[in-house]
Amino acid sequence: MSGIITKVSGPLVMAEGLADANVSDVVRVGAQRLIGEILNMTGDTASIQVYEETAGLGPGANVETTGMPMSVELGPGMLDNIYDGIQRPLPEMRALTGDSITRGTDVPALNREKKWYFNPVAEPGAHVTAGDVLGTVQETSAILHKIMVPVGIEGEVLSVETGEHVVTDVIAVVRDKKGAEHKLTMIQRWPVRIARPYLRKYVPSRPMNSGQRIIDTMFPIAKGGTAAVPGPFGSGKTVVQHQLAKWSDVDIVIYIGCGERGNEMTDVLMEFPELKDPRNGEPLMKRTVLIANTSDMPVAAREASIYTGITIAEYFRDMGYDVAVLADSTSRWAEALREMSGRLEEMPGEEGYPAYLASRLAQFYERAGVVECLGAGDRQGSVTAIGAVSPPGGDISEPVAQATMRIVKVFWALDSSLAYARHFPAINWLTSYSLYMETLRPWYTQQFGEAYMQNRERAMHILQEESELQEIVRLVGQDALSPADRLTMETAKMIREDFLQQNAFVDEDAYSSYAKQFRLLDLVLRYDVLCRDALHKGADTEKLFAVSAREKIGRAKMADPKNFEGEYDAIEALMKREIEEAAAGGEEA
């Protein structure tokens, strides 16, 4: 089925004679066979968004439909790989076409020559349904890839293979009820704009450990939850995303660089193979899939990249894994949507964005969640979706940030004034929130006792009080504060500097375990309690503030991650003694 181009305007192409094509079909455009997707149909004329640069294309050229919607290939070979927005492997494209991305390159997403050792699980004669595991492949040292029965297939296993196979080899034959035989390979295809099915969804109840103190202790996210990281440029969005990609205790990470800087993707590509997962010592790249559609790459493929990413995530979820999807940045995705909408001459909504912006965003985030997977065996998997938002001028009243805030449950608001003071991560503790606080509380209490959440609340309370006291100080100066209020200010400063600040570039500090987080905050709060007590006894504030243990607390976050207990005990003892001495001095006076 082919049609003829009638109009070319940037990435938008109109073609007639496509009456038999379906909306959302993938088409090949012109002599270069550029990849495109049908957006709208009027009569036999289709509006096509082309995923590659359209220079040199003109009316009269051919358009061919593939009859298939935009899909991804799912199977072994995705991990430790980097794709563009429509799942073409970038290293292989480089081998084929050089340092620049040329057009019309056709490379299969999964390597067709690489052999995998297929280890069967299902036995001939068994009855299988969609989602049942046929066999496994050790894809990387970190991840066991489960080859599942594709959706829509059910029946009796006639044969299963064992041993070395390429992804296109038949590894099992299944006969359905009608007697038709299905030859299954290790590849499944799935249309990216449709969510993969599952048995049922649960409310998230376990936290995702990120090793970041402000996240884990103050504003935790649940596995299967959704979060947004909005902030102006230079406030550290990308560093937060990278930290989450590195240290989150999930099985698989899908990192989508959507319309962002090329060098940032290179950074991930270089750094991740070197970094080791703190839980199993495997290189982080072995559990990571990168999707890079940098800002200089075609804008339409940027729109697709988000869906490509989340579909791959759902596929790993269906194996029973915990997956995190990090999208940097959803604002660039929305801009791509706006650009296409403008070219289609649709009626614009707010700030030129199409009226369907909010519903598209909601559809994306709603694909996150904790689910009971299809197939036999109690498999639970989760997809956690975390999107960066880049609001113009850092002003979150704009449509993308507002639409995102209505959907996500966790909001880590980055603040440029914190970034200027080099307070990183520059997550503002007063404007951020996590709606998982209550659902996660039982987990924290069960693991670490009541004190964990109590400390958190105490710390938040002190920070809140500090912001009120600062108003007073700004008006009448520090001398007007009572000693108790001055102590509050000092403690708040310690919470900010000694606990919340975390240096992503120092090995000892980049990842903080729950235990270390708890002890560190506890040290700071213990200081507060002891001093408050001493103040009652008449101790001098200046003396209390000058105790040498405070400097030690300031450096405590740099303690050896595995062996900090002893050091913290020593600091606590020293602090106790010094404060008692200060208090004793107070009584004498």
């Binding site: 109009k7 494209m93 102006p232 800002s295 403008g342």
Partner: protein, 458 residues
Amino acid sequence: MIKEYKTIHEIASPLMVVEHVEGVTYDELGEIELPNGDVRRCKVLEVEGDKAVVQLFESAQGINLAQSKVRFLGHPQQLAVSEDMLGRVFNGMGLPIDGGPEILADAHPDINGLPMNPAARAYPAEFIQTGISTVDGLNTLVRGQKLPIFSGSGLPHAALAAQIARQARVLGDNETFAVVFAAIGITFEESEYFINDFRRTGAIDRTVVFSNLANDPAVERIATPRMALTAAEYLAFEKDMQVLVILTDITNYAEALREVSAAKKEVPGRRGYPGYLYTDLATMYERAGRRQGKKGSITMIPILTMPEDDKTHPIPDLTGYITEGQIILSRDLHRKGIVPPVDVLPSLSRLKDKGIGAGKTREDHAGTMNQLFAAYSRGKDAKELMTILGEAALSEDDKLFAKFADEFEKVYVSQGNNVNRSIEETLDLGWNLLRILPRRELKRIKPEMIEKYMPDEA
């Protein structure tokens, strides 16, 4: 055989509609021949059936609908490149204007370039010493980085950019360098300032100038930076040179883009700029970088003047989202006579972390850098408090921080346009300033470093 059309249907500068065309493709370059023999250039923005919408690069004055002829050349806009471009001056469309001979082209690349495969990039990590403390010490520039200067009208961004171009070098390295300078809609005087500076230091022989001055056609400005980058890519990746690209002024570029967008009657985004401004800027900025297996590099310093000094204006805002940091100039510091008036706190270099430290600059670099930032920020807060409540309201520590902030601006930031400080001098200067503060406040620096570089006087 190239067809000629005498079917211009409509001209609404800078757009023109040509009818009854055949075989015309998107983004193709065209030529318009006027009745008097003048030839002007244009490119195709949209083709629908037999109608082509084209954009003129020059003024529409004198074009006669009935008698002018249009030819489509069958290829997008190209630039003739060769090593002989060094030392030459071109107009915004890439034609020589210095009276010299035509360039004998080595190749004719498309000026729009191609997106670089992220898997082919090499991460920028080689420290460039610019000799300017606020850049080297705090916002370190590395090879292959794009670091814009955000300025305002009347601020000395030209002096700073020229100083960087003059002093920049990679330590212990003798590779050939080149400067590509694109004047985008700036005045003759500003352009001459740069060219004279290149001439004075002898750098002019290693410089390629693309000049679109304020009185040249505005629409041509859309092509000018792309011309410059095409030349830079050729020199860096074909000829192994270390290329520094200076683009000034991006604000003029974005305004030209807005002009064309408005003429096309596109739905405007913020402040009338087209919705694709981000993508458009990105396709330029992202051409900076290094490639694996290639010796050369493109380091880019775009300059833009922020309208009303407003950092949230779309041009600086979108630029900041694409570039790897920014150097911001401050009007307050400029008034105080601080040269260069770099506003340290909001300035940033995103690539500094991989370019500094032991073996690259010095082991104490990262710690002192963070400490200087944090201390200066606190010092400025203290000074603000002091102006409201008087000095008495400050704690003893805060008084020290306020003093630190003053000294920091006077000594560290204000070094003048002709002082070239080595990285060691810059770092030592930082330590000297940190002595003002109580030692226990130096929490950002590892204790071993403090012991080594600031041994206890006692």
